[in-house]
Amino acid sequence: MFSRRFAPILFLTVLVPSVHGASNSAARVRAFASLPDWSGVWLSAAWPLEVSGRVPGGEAQLKEMLQLIRPPPYNATWQARYDEAMKDTAALAARSATFKACTRSFPALMEGPWVFQVVVLPEETLLVFESNQVRHVYTDGRAHPPDDEIWPTRLGDSVGRWEGDTLIIDTIARKQEPVAPRAWASTLSERAHFTERLRMIDPSQLEDRLTIEDPIALAHPWHITLTFKRVAGVNRAIEYDCAENDRNPVVDGKLVITPP
C-alpha cells in the first residue's frame, strides 16, 4: 500500500534531478572542491587608478609600469619594420594624443585598467572584465578548434589545464593589431602563441607569467610577469557602458569636452 501510494512521488524525486540536471554529480562536486578560490575583484598592479580616472604619476608612471609597451624581441625583419614605424613620430604622437579605448585585445586586456573577476569552474575558468569582455579558458580537456574552424579574434582562443593551483592557459588565433595601447608600432603575427601561468601568490595578489612565442615575428620567446591586486571596498561588478555618456569626441584631431 505504502509503496503503491508513494511510488509516483519517489519516482519524481529520483527522476527530476537527473532529467533537469538540478544537482551536481559527486564527481563534479569533487572537481570543484579541488580548485582554488580566486573570488574577489582584481586589478592590474600597473593601474592604481585614482578618482580622477588616472594613475598618480600619469603617463610617466605608466611608461615605467606597463610591460607590453616595451619593445618586443623581434627578429631582424620585424625589428626593421618596427624601427621604421617608430621614426614616424608625428603619427605616433597623434595617435597617442587621441586614442580612446573601451575594450582591449589580448594580451593588453590582462594589463589594462579594468577590474575583473575570476570564475573557476571544473569545465572552464572565466575572466570577466569590467569592460564587458570575457575570456573563456576551457579546462575540460578539449583542444583548440581545427584549422578550418578557427579564425583570428581580439581575445584569441584559449584552453587550459591545472597544475596544482596554477592555471596554464594556452591561447592562439589572436587578431593582428598593436600589442597594447601606446605600443602602436608593436604588432605580432597571427601565428603568435601565448602561454600563461596564472596563480595566487598570496591572498591579495594573483600573478600571470606570460610567454609569447611567434615564429614569424620574434627572435626568441618574450617573457612578461603581470601582477593583479585584490581591490578593496568593491564586492560586486559595476556596469561599464562606455557609450552611456561619452563626452570626449575627437574634433579636428584633438580630444575635447562636450557640454552635458
Binding site: 580622477s52 580616472g53 586614442f99 579605448a101 585584490r230 555618456n245 552635458p260
Partner: protein, 135 residues
C-alpha cells in the same frame, strides 16, 4: 581678484602627461592646476566618466565648468557615492585645465566649502570584509 573665486595656480608638477583609463590625457594641461570655488550644477554618475558641472563666478556672471572624473567603478573605490554631491552645494575643486582654454578639466581633488572631505578612500584593511572572502 582679477579672476573672482577662480584661483589659478601653476603647480610645478613633476608628472608627465596625464593618462586616464578611457582615453589619452593629452587634452589636459598637467603643468597647471586651477581651483574653482563654486556651486554644483549637476553631478553625472555615468560611464565612461563621471562629471561635476560647476558654476563658478566669472567676469560677466557665473561660468559653467565641466570637470571630468573616473568611472563609477573608480569613484566607488575612492569612497565616492552616486549622491556624494547635491545640486546647489558649494564646492572647492582643483583641476588640471584643458589645454585648449575651454571651461573644463581633469579632477584632481575637491572638498566641501567648509573644507571637509567629500569622500574617504577605501583602505586595504577592508579588503576581506568587502570581498566576502574569508582569506
Amino acid at each position: 581678484m582679477t579672476t573672482p573665486k577662480a584661483l589659478l595656480g601653476v603647480a610645478a608638477l613633476l608628472v608627465a602627461l596625464q593618462a586616464t583609463a578611457h582615453h589619452s590625457g593629452a587634452m589636459f594641461d598637467d603643468r597647471k592646476s586651477l581651483t574653482l570655488i563654486g556651486t554644483v550644477k549637476t553631478f553625472q554618475w555615468t560611464n565612461p566618466h563621471c562629471w561635476i558641472q560647476v558654476l563658478a563666478p566669472g567676469p560677466q556672471g557665473p561660468v559653467e565648468w565641466s570637470v571630468e572624473m573616473g568611472s563609477p567603478s573608480q569613484l566607488i573605490r575612492g569612497g565616492w557615492k552616486p549622491r556624494s554631491l547635491k545640486v546647489g552645494e558649494s564646492i572647492r575643486i582643483t583641476i588640471h585645465p584643458m589645454r585648449d582654454g575651454s571651461n573644463g578639466g581633469l579632477y584632481m581633488s575637491a572638498t566641501r566649502a567648509d573644507g571637509t572631505p567629500i569622500a574617504v578612500p577605501v583602505t586595504n584593511g577592508s579588503v576581506a570584509a568587502a570581498s566576502g572572502n574569508p582569506q
